[in-house]
C-alpha cells in the first residue's frame, strides 16, 4: 500500500536522491505534504514568502512536529501551517488539473472520441475537436463540483485526503468559479460547435453526476447504477456529435460501457471497504458483498452478450464477435475468480484487467466497424438513389478514400 502511495505521490523524483531522502520519502508517505512539487520562481498568494529554489525538498514532518531536513536535494521547507489558498508558483494549471481529476477526464474524453470515431458518418476534424474539448470541459466541471461537495468525506479517506480543497490549496469559491466557467464554455462549445443533442446529453450528464450521483453515494447503493449511466453517456455524446442521432450502434456502445463500470468499480471498491465504511459511503462492497460479487460477474457476461449482438445489428462485422470472444471470456473468468475467492488479489487482478479490457474492446469495435471504406470513387457511385437529395462526395485526397464517408450525406 505504501508503494502505491509513493508511486501516486506528487513529489518530484529527482535525479539522484540520497538514500536518506529515499527513506524519508518512504516513511513519510502517510503524512506527506501535497504541496511538495517541483516549484519555480514565484511568490505565494499571501505575499510574504518568496519561493526561490527550483527544486523542492521532501519534508519529513509528521503530525507531531516539524523536522527541518537539510538534504542535498533542495532548500525549500513546507511547515505544518500553510497559507490558504496556496499555490506553488507556476502550478496553477496543476491545481486545476487535480481539481478536475485530469486523468479521469482524459479517459472520459477518449470514450467520447471513440464514440465519435465509431459513428457511421463523415469525420469532420473541427467538430471532432470541439466535441472532445467540450466533453472534457463539462467533465472537469462535474469533477470540481463533486470535490467541492465532498471535502469532509475526502478528508477521512486516505485515497482522497490530499485533494486541493481538502488541503486548502484552493478556496471553495475558486473551485466553483472554475466549475461554472468550465461548464459554460464546454456546453457552449458543444451547442454551437457540434449540435444540440450532444449539448443536451452533456448538460444531462453534468446534472446527473453532481445532483444525483454525488448525494446518492451516501444514501443508497443504487448510486453505482447511476454512476454507470454517467460513464455510459460520453460515447453517446461522441456518437451524437458525429451522426446527429443515436441509433442501435450508439446504444450498444453505451451498453458496453455501462456494463463495464460494474466489474471495474466493484473490484476497485473491494479493497477500500474500511475507508468507505468510516466515511459513510454506501457501496455494494460494504453493505452487500455478495451482491457486489454477483453483479461483477453478471455484467461481464452482459459485455460478452452485447459484443455478440453488435454484428447482428449491423454495427460491426462478424469478426468483431470472434475477436472479442477471448477477451470477454477471460474477463468473465476473472470475475468468476473474484466471485469465488473474493480476496484482495483477485479483486486487484480484475480491476487491472478492466483497465486493459476497455481500450482494447473499443479499438476492436472501431477496427471492425461496418461502414469503413478503403475505396476509390467507383464504389461511391453505386450508392442507393432515392427520392431524397443525395450528394456524393468523391474523395479528393488520399485521406478521403480512407476515412469513412456517409452513404447519404444529409445535413445534420
Amino acid at each position: 500500500m505504501i508503494g502505491v502511495l509513493v508511486r501516486r505521490s506528487t513529489w518530484d523524483y529527482l535525479a539522484a536522491p540520497s538514500s536518506k531522502c529515499q527513506l524519508i520519502r518512504l516513511t513519510a508517505t502517510v503524512s506527506r505534504r501535497p504541496w511538495e512539487e517541483p516549484s519555480t520562481q514565484g511568490v505565494s498568494s499571501c505575499g510574504n514568502v518568496k519561493l526561490l529554489s527550483s527544486i523542492s525538498c521532501k519534508n519529513s514532518s509528521s503530525l507531531a512536529g516539524v523536522k527541518k531536513e537539510q538534504t542535498r536535494c533542495g532548500r525549500l521547507e513546507y511547515l505544518d501551517w500553510m497559507p490558504s489558498p496556496f499555490t506553488n508558483a507556476g502550478k496553477t494549471m496543476s491545481n486545476y488539473k487535480k481539481l478536475s481529476k485530469f486523468r479521469l477526464t482524459s479517459l472520459v474524453v477518449i470514450t467520447a472520441m471513440g464514440g465519435y470515431a465509431m459513428a457511421p458518418a463523415a469525420f469532420d476534424i473541427s467538430t471532432f475537436a470541439m466535441c472532445a474539448l467540450g466533453t472534457g470541459l463539462v467533465s472537469a466541471a462535474a469533477n470540481s463540483i463533486n470535490q467541492y461537495h465532498e471535502v469532509p468525506f475526502d478528508s477521512q479517506m486516505s485515497r482522497t485526503k490530499n485533494r486541493v480543497l481538502v488541503t486548502g490549496q484552493m478556496t471553495p469559491l475558486h473551485s466553483i468559479g472554475f466549475a461554472i466557467a468550465s461548464a459554460s464554455t464546454g456546453l457552449c462549445l458543444l451547442y454551437f460547435g457540434v449540435n444540440g443533442l450532444t449539448a443536451a446529453l452533456g448538460a444531462g450528464n453534468l446534472l446527473l453526476y453532481t445532483c444525483v450521483y454525488t448525494p446518492m453515494k451516501r444514501v443508497s447503493i443504487l448510486n453505482t447504477w447511476v454512476g454507470s449511466i454517467v460513464g455510459a453517456i460520453p460515447p453517446l455524446m461522441g456518437w451524437a456529435g458525429c451522426a446527429g442521432t443515436l441509433d442501435v450502434g450508439a446504444w450498444i456502445l453505451a451498453g458496453l460501457l455501462y456494463a463495464w463500470q460494474f466489474p471495474h468499480f466493484n473490484a476497485l471498491s473491494w479493497n477500500l471497504r474500511p475507508d468507505y465504511s468510516r466515511a459513510g459511503y454506501r457501496m455494494m462492497a460494504v453493505t452487500n458483498p455478495s451482491l457486489c460479487r454477483r453483479t461483477a460477474l453478471r455484467y461481464t457476461m452482459a459485455i460478452s452478450g452485447l459484443s455478440l449482438l453488435a454484428p447482428i445489428f449491423d454495427v460491426t462485422n462478424v469478426w468483431f464477435a470472434l475477436e472479442t470472444m477471448p477477451l470477454n471470456l477471460y474477463f468473465c473468468y476473472l470475475a468468476y475468480e473474484f466471485h469465488q475467492k473474493s480476496d484482495s488479489g483477485s479483486s486487484r487482478k480484475l480491476f487491472r484487467f478492466s483497465l486493459l479490457h476497455l481500450p482494447v474492446l473499443m479499438l476492436l469495435f472501431l477496427v471492425n466497424k461496418k461502414n469503413w471504406y478503403f475505396t476509390s470513387s467507383e464504389q461511391e457511385e453505386t450508392t442507393i438513389m432515392d427520392n431524397k437529395t443525395i450528394s456524393i462526395h468523391p474523395p479528393t485526397s488520399g485521406l478521403g478514400s480512407v476515412l469513412p464517408v456517409a452513404v447519404a450525406a444529409v445535413p445534420r
Binding site: 535525479a15 539522484a16 503524512s31 504541496w35 505565494s44 498568494s45 499571501c46 505575499g47 510574504n48 514568502v49 518568496k50 519561493l51 529554489s53 503530525l63 512536529g65 516539524v66 527541518k68 537539510q70 542535498r72 532548500r75 525549500l76 521547507e77 513546507y78 511547515l79 505544518d80 501551517w81 500553510m82 497559507p83 490558504s84 496556496f86 461537495h149 471535502v151 469532509p152 478528508s155 477521512q156 485526503k161 481538502v166 488541503t167 486548502g168 478556496t171 471553495p172 469559491l173 466553483i176 448525494p215 451516501r218 444514501v219 471497504r273 474500511p274 468507505y276 465504511s277 468510516r278 459513510g280 454506501r282 462492497a285 460494504v286 453493505t287 452487500n288 458483498p289 473474493s342 480476496d343
Partner: protein, 175 residues
C-alpha cells in the same frame, strides 16, 4: 582499446551531473520556509492558514485571519466559517471515536467467541462495516443535508465578500 574509450566517455557522461551537483552543494545552504511551524494568531497573519489534519476528526483546522478593517459582511463570513468548522470537527471526532470503539468491540467479541483462526478475515469484518453503516444511516443523511446547506451558505457569503472587495477596489481610485 575500444572498450577503454567507451568506458571513458561513459564515465565522462556520468561526471557531468556530479560537477553540477557539486556546484550546487558548494553554495551556502539557505532554507526557505513556507508557512508557519505553530498555530498562528488570527490577528497577526495576513491571510487564512490551514494546519495539519486533526488526529481524531481528520479534518484540517483553519485559522481565519482577523483584520480590523473588515466589513460586517466579511466578519459574518469569518464567524460563520469558524462556527461551521467547529461543528464539522465535532461531528467527525465523535463519529470516528464511535467507529473505532465499535470496531474494537466487534473484534473482541469475535475473539471471545472462540474462533480457531487468530486473525479476523476481511469478510467477517465486512459484517461489522455493514452493521455500522446501517446503524448510522439516518445520522449520515441528516449530516449530509446539513453540510450541503451550510456549504452553500458559505459559498454565497464568500461570493458576496468577493464582490464587495472588487467594488471597493474599483471605488478607491475615484475617491
Amino acid at each position: 582499446m575500444y572498450k577503454c574509450t567507451t568506458h571513458r566517455t561513459f564515465g565522462q557522461l556520468q561526471l557531468w551531473p556530479r560537477w553540477y551537483a557539486k556546484a550546487v552543494e558548494n553554495e551556502p545552504k539557505k532554507s526557505q520556509t513556507v508557512g508557519l511551524a505553530q498555530r498562528p494568531d488570527p490577528e497577526s497573519v495576513g491571510c487564512d492558514y490551514i494546519g495539519p489534519p486533526d488526529p481524531d476528526s481528520n479534518l484540517r483546522p483553519y485559522v481565519r485571519h482577523y483584520n480590523n478593517r473588515e466589513t460586517p459582511l466579511a466578519k459574518k463570513l469569518r464567524l460563520r466559517r469558524i462556527e461551521i468548522d467547529a461543528w464539522n470537527n465535532d461531528f467527525w471526532t465523535k463519529h470516528n471515536k464511535r467507529f473505532y470503539q465499535e470496531k474494537e468491540d466487534f473484534i473482541q467479541l469475535h475473539k471471545n467467541a472462540g474462533t480457531a483462526s487468530q486473525d479476523i478475515t476481511a469478510d467477517s469484518m465486512s459484517v461489522f462495516y455493514k452493521s455500522f453503516l446501517d446503524k448510522n444511516r439516518r445520522m449520515h443523511i441528516m449530516y449530509n443535508i446539513s453540510w450541503y446547506l451550510k456549504n452553500v451558505e458559505l459559498l454565497v457569503l464568500a461570493f458576496q465578500v468577493f464582490l464587495q472587495k472588487l467594488l471597493r477596489r474599483e471605488k478607491k481610485p475615484t475617491q
